[in-house]
Structure formats: structure tokens, C-alpha cells
Amino acid sequence: MMLQGGIILLFSLAYIGILFAIAYYSDKRSDAGRSVISNPYIYSLSLAVYCTAWTFYGSVGRAASTGIGFLPIYLGPTLMIALWYLVMRKIIRISKYNRITSIADFISSRYGKSSSLAGLVTVIAVVGIIPYISLQLDGVSTSFAVMWQHSELSTTLPTPGTVDILGDTSFYVALLLALFAIIFGTRHLDTTERHEGLVAAIAFESVVKLVAFLVIGAYVSFVLFNGFGDIFGQAAQSPELSKLFTMENAGTYTDWTWLMFLSMMAIMFLPRQFQMTVVENVNENHLDKAIWLLPLYMLLINIFVLPIALGGLLLFPNGAVDADTFVLTIPISQGQEEIAMLAFIGGLSAATGMVIVATVSLSTMVSNELVMPILLHFGPLRLAERRDLGGVLLTIRRGTIIMVLLLGYVYFRLTGNAYTLVSIGLISFAAVAQFAPAIFGGIYWKTGNHLGAMVGLSAGFVVWSYTLFLPSLAESGFLPPSFIESGPFGITLLKPYALFGLSGLDPITHSLFWSMLVNVGGYMILSLVGRQSVIEHSQAAQFVDVFKQTPENDFRLWRSTSSVTVLRSILEQFISPTRVNEALNDYAKKHGLDWSKDDVADAALINYTERLLAGSVGSASARVLLASAVKEEPVSMDEVMYMLDETSKVIAYSRELEIKSKELEQATSELTAANEQLKELDRLKDDFISTVTHELRTPLTSIRAFSEILHDNPDLDAEQRGKFMAIILKETERLTRLINNVLDLSKIESGKMEWHLTAVDLKELIEDALASLEQVIKEGNIELKTDMADQVSLTVADRDRITQVMLNLLSNAIKFCDNEAGWIKVQLKEQDSTLNVAVSDNGPGIKPEHQEIIFEKFRQVGDTLTEKPQGTGLGLPICRQIVTYFGGDLRVESVLGHGATFHFTLPVVSPADDESGVEAGFSTAVFANGKSSNRQGTYGKESINR
């Protein structure tokens, strides 16, 4: 008899021995740098860890009761994997960049490397996976029991809960699996937390379980029956069995769709799937092959599920045998012990694969995200200062593996046989589906924040616990059955399977609906109303835009500096010194540094160290560890925004460009304006020259004409001669005056005028001017009126120039006043620190339209063709320039026929004032006359001080 207990055990141990050998071999190869797992086929096979005892035993069981109802669990992943090309590639890229060690690490890293979030995810993962672990224990121990007691197939199997723990096979199975997981998963700590040996062993297991299942399937279909047609043909005879041909027993279409969704999430977010797909991934491109190889694998392993299920139902009618064990019981019942043994090994491989990977990934999470942060936060333990923390870490992990398996065992004992394998597994699926919003949101939605993830996950987890986890315990008698039937304390609205009266749904669908509602809702609402911290913002940008950045384009959140020695000692607490050396030397080589000379670690190196550490202890712990050793300067939000937003640089550049182009535009328009001004000035100069030459020619012509007369007529009488000579003299004077005026004007305009500043008493100045004109006034028989203040304040000005102004105005008044009863009037007033001088006459007056023209150069009012010009046409312009220069203004008031009054003002500037006062007075003057702004230097302070 082959199937004796000892032999079964021997085969099991031999099988596990082979696994060890494979793992050992590939670890050796990996250390030697020739990885066996670095190819897409091994990678794809390792992903098939998705197919567990659930698939191996449970699918048949579910098919036996629901027909095609087992399929959504594989169709969902098949479809999801199509999206992996975009989604999983992104997750892998992000994880490689951040050296992510687990799904908890991934989520916490995205939301600001938060240890609280990492802890929450870890708790959800552990609690959520416990049913799944117990499913494997169930599968393995049942298969042991079946093999053991195959001779008494018809008798019911002992209920696990009734057996003494020490006599319970599943207890030993749990311990054996724990040992196996410990040896594989926690051999040493690595900088990347990858386990080559483990992956190789899992890939091998995938081959074993597939081959085993196909052999059994082929045996049932083609040996026991005559092909598919035979099985289905026989089944069609039974109305009960033929129901399985349709969707009738497969649940509602709603449940079907939700199951597909659930398994889509599971294939991504089960901790063991994440471990295999993301953490153990060697090369991103291996994903391409896995996208079709994994669905193909699932198709193959499921092809014989329906034939086996229906074959089993035909062989053992009326539920004589648990359909979950058909894979074993069919060959046993036919005396095919070799096939039964193969099936047993296949089932064992399916279960061990899952348990090992799941516990290894859970232990990484528990140690990195739960225990380490707590230990590190405990000051009194001074853990951060201990050397060789790696040992502590490994111990924690090993303890976790044992704990998880024991919890699985406890759950298994508690729930007993109340559930089929598949329905236990679905409870776990629903738990890990809670990660979906935080992860999908995290990689595609920058706004998603820590609070949202925290609340969404907690709420989803609580609802899941209430609607699935607790009831599963209640059904096994751990809680009173009334909890399910009438709700807690008889509140029917809170019935866990019909929350708020939502009934008619499968418990899984029901739980998924409510938990996803609160999860997605909480996550989105709080993300939309809440704010992100600096580090969250940086991580969000990094995660969402991972394809846009190169490793060099690093986000430097460490702005501090530290010493290489310190960083090295921190690293060596967790990683072997040889590996630390390798890593640091790599870095030095890449950046052209020499550690014997450079001891200053810049932000980039600290970042690098953080990532190295994150590979061992997770990102949250790594950050805490480094923060304790490195004094970090706070980074302001603005800086981060500037550093991180991929677009910010572009925006900055384009803004700069915009500014530049605006400046250019402005400069262009300024230049255009300046050019216009220059053209205008050029035109004015031409006008001026032609006017000046014209004005000069007039006296010259008359001088020449009279000189010729004198020259050609030497016999002219003396009277005539005298008259002509007087004209010539007058014209030369006029010419001189004209030339002086032109010179003055050009000096003033070009800023070359020399101003001699003195304190000027305007009253005295006016009196002097009047005195010098006294003769002329008398000769013209002109009445002089004066109205002057007794005393006025002093002003600072060029005395000669002001006199020139005064004389000019007075001469004009004398010239234009009434011929018969002419009078002129001079007024002087002081008002508001301004001196007002008015010179009036009773001449013909000036037309309003001429009142400004007279201040233009060479513009004389009156008909220049018929009337002989009476001045140079430059007097008033010069006067205005002078007055304006000293901060005053000159204007005229006149009514035609009633004379004209010229007013000019000068500011009161006392020489006793401090210099700034003087200065201020002049700067007004300077500014009042735009063109004269460069004159200040010419007259300067020296003149004032003089």
C-alpha cells in the first residue's frame, strides 16, 4: 500500500527538499551574478502564485455547485493584466525608484512616507490575509486527511475543531510552512529586499501544480471518461447536473461582475502578488511576456475544472464526498495511487507557494512598517544607536511569520468547516480590494492626500470587518448566530449581511459595495477638501509623474549635509558592511568622488542612503532613522513647488521669456519713440538753421546795401552818410544780439550754459533794470508804474540771466506800449514761497492764438513780410528757458486791444537753507525742464556754495 502516512510524509518532505535545493542553487547563482530568475518566463511562472489551494481544490468545489461560477476569479485577472502594460509598469517603475519593499511601503511612501498609514495598511493586510492563510491550511490538512483515511472515504472527516491541537495535522502543517517560509524569506537582509531563491522555488511550484492538475484532468477526462463529450453527455442526463451548464447557479450577473472586479483588485494588491509582481521584479520588460503568459497559465489550469467537477459529481452522487476534495478522491477511488500522490503534491505546492510568499511579504510589512517605527520612536530603547539592527529585524520577521501562520491556524479552528475554500478566499480578496482607491488614486491623482487615504482605508476596513470578517466568525459559533440573523442587539438595520436594508446581494458583493462606497468616498472627499504636506506633495508628484523623470532628476528633500561616516554607520546597522561598501563605492564611482578625501555627504548622497535603507526597513522607517542622524533643514512649500512640479521649470522659463519679450517690446517702443524724437529734433535743427540763416541774412543784406551805397557814392552828403552809417551800426548791433541770442539758446539747450548762482534780491534787481532803461522810458514819453512789495525773500539764481529776462520783458513792454499815452507797469509780489513778477503794457495786445507762439523760436507776431522785424524772435524763448531753469514759469495774459501782461515766477530759495533745500529747489527746476536733467552737474553745488 503506497498511501501510508509515512510515505505521504516522506514524499512531502522530499518535495520540500527539492524546493530548498532549487532555492539554494538560485541564491548561489544570484550571488555569483548569474541570476536564474532574470527571465520573463520565470517571472510569469512566479506570478502564478495567484493559483493556490483555492484553485487546486476549491475551483472544482465551486464548479460542482455553481458551474461556471468559479471563472470570474480568473477572468478578472486576465482582463486586468491587459491594463498592466500601463498600470503595473508604472507601479514597478515607482517602486524601483523608491526601493519599495511591500504594498504598505508603497502606499505610505505615496502619502508622505507616513508611518501611521503604513501601519494601517499592514494591519489590514495581516487581518485580511488570515482567512486566506487558513484556507491553505485547510486545503493541505484536508488533503493529508483524505490521503490518510482514503480507505474510509465515505465516512465524514473529523471536524478540525474537535481534534486536540497536538493531534491536529494542520497544526503541524502550519509549523512546517512557517519553517519553510523563514528559511526562504528571511535568510539575510538585502538592500533591495529581493529573494531570488524564493522566486525560483515558487516558479518551480507553479510548474508542479499545473502539471499535476493537467494530469488529473486528463486522467478524469480521457481515462475515466471518454473525453469531454462523454462527461457532459452523462451530466446532461441529470436535470440537477445540467443546471450547471448555464448561469443558473452561477449567482446573479451583478455578483458575477463584482467578483470579476474583486479578482482584478486581488491580482494586483494581494500582498503576495505585489511581492512577486513588483518587489521581486528584476526587469520591467519582463512584464510584457507575463501579460499573456499568466492568463494562458490560468486558462490551462482551469480547462479541466469543469470536467473534474462534473466527473466527480457523476462518480459520487448525492454529495457523498466534499467536492473540494474531488482532485484527490477521484484517483483514490479508482485506485490510482500515483495520480493521487501527484495531486497531493500539486495541492501542497499550490498551498506552500501562497503561504510562503504571503508570510514573507507580511513579515516584511510587519517588521518594517509596524514594529520598527514603534521601536525607533521609543527613545529609552536607544535602538537607533545599536549596531547590527539587521539581526533584530530578522528576528522580528521570523516571529511575524510564525505569528501569521498561527493566526491562520486559529481562524481555521474557529471557522472550521463552515465555509467552502472559495468563500473563505473571497473574504481576503475583499480585504485587499480596500487598497485599490489609495493606490490607483496615488499613481494617477496628485491631489489624493494622506488624510483621505487614512480615512478611506480605515472606513473600508471597518465596513469589511463588520460585513464579512465578523460574520464569518459568527457562523462558526464564535459570536452568537443572532448577530447575523437579526443584527447586533436586534437592530435589523445593522444586520451585517443586509446593512441598511440592502438585501438580495451575495455577502461578498454586499460587503464590497458598502466598503468601497465609504473607502472611495472618504478618500476622495477628504483629498478634495484637505491639504497636502510638503513631503506628500513631493511624493505625489514623483509617483504620478514617474515616467517623466530620470533618476538624475532627483527630488532633493534633504537639504542638509552630513558626513559619510555617519551615513555609513547607519547603513551598517542593517546591511552587511561589504554590501554597504559596494553601494557607497558604486555611488562614488558614478559621481567621481573619493571617500578617503570627501567626507561631506550632500543631499544627493543622503537621498541615496535613504533609498538604500528603505530597501531594508521600508521608507517610513528609513526616514525616521535618517532624520535622527541628519539635521534636516525645513524645506518651504514654495521651494518644493518650485523643485517638484515638473512643469514649474517650463513655466518659469516661459515666464522669463514672456518678461524678456515684454522688455524687448518696451525697449523697441522706447527706441522708436527716441528715434521719432531724434527725427523731430533733426527737423527742428534744420528749421532752426534755416531760420537763423534767414534772420542773419536780413541785417547782413541791409548792412551790405548801405555799405555799397556809401562805397559807390563817396560824394554823399554828410547827413545822408551819417544816417546810413547809423543804420549800418544798428543792423550790426542787431546782428550781434541775434548771434548772442542764438549762442545763448544753444548753450541752454545743450546744457553748456554756465550758471553763476548767487542769492538774488528780485526787488533790487528790478530796480536796477528799470534804472538802466530810465533814459529810454523818458525818451519814449512813457509813464512808468511800479507796484512792488517793500521787501521780498531772496532767491538763488544767476543774477545776470534774470536781469536779462527782466530787461527783455521791459524792452518789449516799452517797444509795444501805446505810442501816444504809453505806460508800463511792473509788479512784484511774494505768495506761497513764490515770487511773482508782472510786466504790463497798454499796447495792442496779443491774440489768444498767438499767446503761446510768441514763446517759440523765431516766431514774431505780426506780418513779417510788411513790417520790419523789431526783434530777433529769440528773446522770449530764451527768457522762458531761463525762468523754467530756475523752477519758475513765464506766461502771458492779454486781451486784444488792452495791452499785455507778462508774468514770471521764481521760487523762494533762501541761501541760508541747508543744501538739500537748495538742491530740492533746483531739482524741481531740473525736472520741470526735462531736457535739462543733465545740467545739474554743470552748475553743481560749487556754484551754490560760492
Partner: protein, 65 residues
């Protein structure tokens, strides 16, 4: 990058096709007691659709390299 996005988009299309094939109402059309080659037509439909999806993935990923 171009190859990258176009393959991604094709795979998304396959995903959508799969969602259509494996859901109500198409699924309900085949929920009958009819047999094809001695196999319930629902099973034939489910597995052949599955196979087609996989073949499409192979074509998209492997052929256009």
C-alpha cells in the same frame, strides 16, 4: 514612447472587449442547455473568448516588436 502608448491603448481596447464578452448581457445569450461538439455552449463560449483574448494579447505584444 509611441510604441509604448499604442500598445498600451490596444491592450486597453482588449480589456474593454473582455469586459464586454464576460458580462451581462452577452453572457446570458449563451446561458442555454445547447451543446456544441458535446460541450455546453456556455463553456465553449467562455473558454474560447478567453483564448481569443489571450491570442489578441500575444499579437499585440509579441508580433509588432
Amino acid at each position: 514612447m509611441n510604441r509604448f502608448t499604442i500598445i498600451g491603448q490596444r491592450l486597453v481596447a482588449i480589456f474593454l472587449l473582455g469586459c464586454l464578452l464576460f458580462n451581462y448581457p452577452l453572457l446570458s445569450i449563451f446561458s442555454t442547455y445547447d451543446m456544441l461538439w458535446g460541450i455546453p455552449i456556455l463553456y465553449v463560449y467562455a473558454f474560447s473568448s478567453w483564448l481569443i483574448i489571450i491570442i489578441l494579447m500575444i499579437i499585440v505584444i509579441e508580433i509588432r516588436r
